[in-house]
């Protein structure tokens, strides 16, 4: 499932995740459309992120996931960060934002 609407808190998480680039195309993973879902559970102090990769064989995939995990742990001390890698729905270039498209051709 791809989340369409984000609460202000979730949008803040997305903003933080813009620090994470895809090392190959050098565009951040949010604008590439790799983040499918962000959920913050204040009761359990858990942040859940569902994300995908542009291709299952992506050679830097686990580094990107590790980057997401680290960046959120640093910004949300005391929270449990869960990053799930999902393959459904399959990523397509149509998911790249306008900003991402502009960055691709800079």
């Amino acid at each position: 499932m791809i989340q369409k609407e984000f609460s202000p808190e979730e949008a803040k998480v997305l903003e933080i995740l813009k620090q994470v680039p895809d090392p190959e195309v050098e565009v951040n993973i949010v604008d590439l459309g790799l983040i499918y879902l962000v959920n913050i559970d204040e009761k359990t102090k858990t942040i859940t992120v569902d994300m995908t990769l542009s291709t299952p064989g992506c050679p830097v995939g686990d580094t990107i996931i590790q980057h997401v995990q680290t960046v959120l742990e640093i910004n949300y001390p005391g929270y449990d960060v869960k990053v799930n890698l999902v393959w459904e729905p399959q990523w397509t270039p149509e998911l790249i934002s306008e900003e991402g498209r502009a960055q691709l051709n800079q």
Binding site: P23, L53, S54, C58, T63
Partner: protein
């Protein structure tokens, strides 16, 4: 490990990087030899230095780099670990030993089954067997059924077939088992090697990587599927025909046409990729790749010209074969490697140094691990060199061929410097 994630299949940097280093060194040695013996290209070309250049380029440069690159790309294309890293190290050692003896034999002007040449050829066959075993075992473990995988498996089998044919040719010169002219076998050796092994491998890898690098979906895969049938039919027909002292020439022509059709379909697939790409701006790795594909189109024309015959164009015998060979090996294969090195090597080096630091420290990106200006310079020198080779050979201009050889040597040196810069990269932490 996350389900479905294949990045942990990546091999050790020490399996991949030495291939690039040794490959670059062979490219430099071959280009250096060419500068001192360029005149052989304009005269009788089956000379000791030219045989050395051809084998250093094809086995020492293109094959060695492809071996290394494939160890890195098999996990990407087939989503599986390579079968054995130890086997990969051993393969490289045996390959280098084989090349050493082969070149030693050639440079001693031994065109028969001499001790050095037989030993060199045997070592190379063993290395190729080891490589094929590693590749085919990896492919067998992969559950990913794709056209890329098919091309890669076929190319591994053709590589095996071709080195066996190479050894047979050397032995047949001494023992005369089959009374067919060695120039006839040479045709099959070139077709199986250049088209069956290299081109099919490049198509297999490109089918997966080009859409990934340029960000394209919904491509016309039928081009590749039909290309696979045409190329195999053409290669196998030629391989069978050359065993007969006289064969119907029309069959040979049909086989060549099938191969040309396969090459055209690969070019059409790439045209589709470039036309639909979302990433319009080509980075430093993709520019030489695009140039190499244009050169492939010219190589295709050169092969048609070869079939029509040198006399048709008023050229000395064998000249067009040299032009086609230069376009294919110095042009297409070298161009692809010059570009794709920057799309592969920096990543495995980057992962080695920075994988555990991302997010905690500011690190350079893979694209910042080599000198971009040097890539621009060697893209130019490479292109100029190929153009000069073609002009010099077609118009028999010695000084132009010499200039081409010098610019290619320059290309190999600049590429070598940039490769060393990546391989010997020292970990850097950028202060925030």
């Amino acid at each position: 490990m996350q389900v479905g994630l294949s990045t942990q299949n990546a091999p050790s940097v020490w399996v991949v990087a030495p291939h690039y280093l040794i490959g670059a060194l062979n490219f430099i040695i071959a280009s250096g030899l060419m500068v001192f013996h360029y005149e052989d290209l304009l005269g009788y070309h089956l000379t000791a230095p030219m045989l050395s250049v051809a084998h250093l380029m094809i086995l020492g440069w293109v094959s060695v780099v492809i071996f290394g690159a494939l160890y890195q790309l098999i996990p990407v294309v087939m989503e599986v670990k390579i079968y054995s890293e130890k086997l990969a190290y051993a393969t490289l050692a045996v390959m280098v030993a084989g090349l050493f003896f082969l070149i030693k034999g050639f440079l001693s002007f031994e065109f028969k089954a001499s001790h050095a040449i037989t030993m060199g050829a045997t070592f190379i066959i063993i290395a190729v067997l080891m490589f094929a075993l590693n590749t085919l075992k990896s492919a067998a473990a992969s559950e990913k059924k794709s056209i890329s995988r098919l091309y890669i498996i076929a190319s591994g089998l053709y590589l095996l077939l071709n080195v066996s044919l190479g050894l047979f040719m050397v032995l047949n010169m001494s023992y005369h088992w089959v009374s067919v002219a060695h120039t006839q076998f040479l045709k099959a050796h070139l077709v199986v090697g250049l088209v069956g092994w290299f081109l099919m491998l490049i198509i297999g890898v490109a089918a997966r990587l080009m859409p990934m690098f340029l960000i394209v979906h919904k491509l016309k895969e039928d081009y590749l599927k039909w290309g696979f049938y045409f190329l195999n039919a053409g290669i196998l027909t030629i391989f069978i025909l050359v065993w007969f002292p006289s064969y119907p020439k029309v069959l040979f022509a049909v086989a060549l046409l099938l191969i040309l059709a396969g090459m055209v379909l690969f070019l059409m697939y790439n045209y589709d990729v470039f036309k639909k790409r979302m990433r319009k701006k080509l980075d430093s790795g993709m520019k030489p790749t695009a140039i190499a594909l244009v050169i492939l189109a010219f190589a295709l024309l050169a092969f048609i010209a070869v079939y029509l015959g040198d006399a048709t164009f008023g050229l000395p015998a064998g000249r067009l074969e040299i032009v086609a060979g230069i376009l294919m090996v110095y042009g297409f294969f070298t161009g692809i490697i010059l570009g794709q090195t920057y799309k592969t090597l920096p990543f495995i080096i980057w992962l080695f140094h920075y994988q555990k630091l991302v997010g905690r420290q500011k690190t350079p990106l893979p694209g910042e691990m080599f000198n971009e200006k040097l890539v621009k310079v060697h893209t130019w020198t490479f292109t100029i060199s190929v153009v000069l080779f073609v002009i010099g050979l077609l118009f028999s201009l010695k000084v132009v061929v010499l200039a081409a050889a010098i610019t290619m040597l320059l290309t190999s040196l600049i590429y070598g410097i940039n490769s060393a810069k990546m391989i010997f990269h020292k970990k850097q932490i950028i202060k925030k």
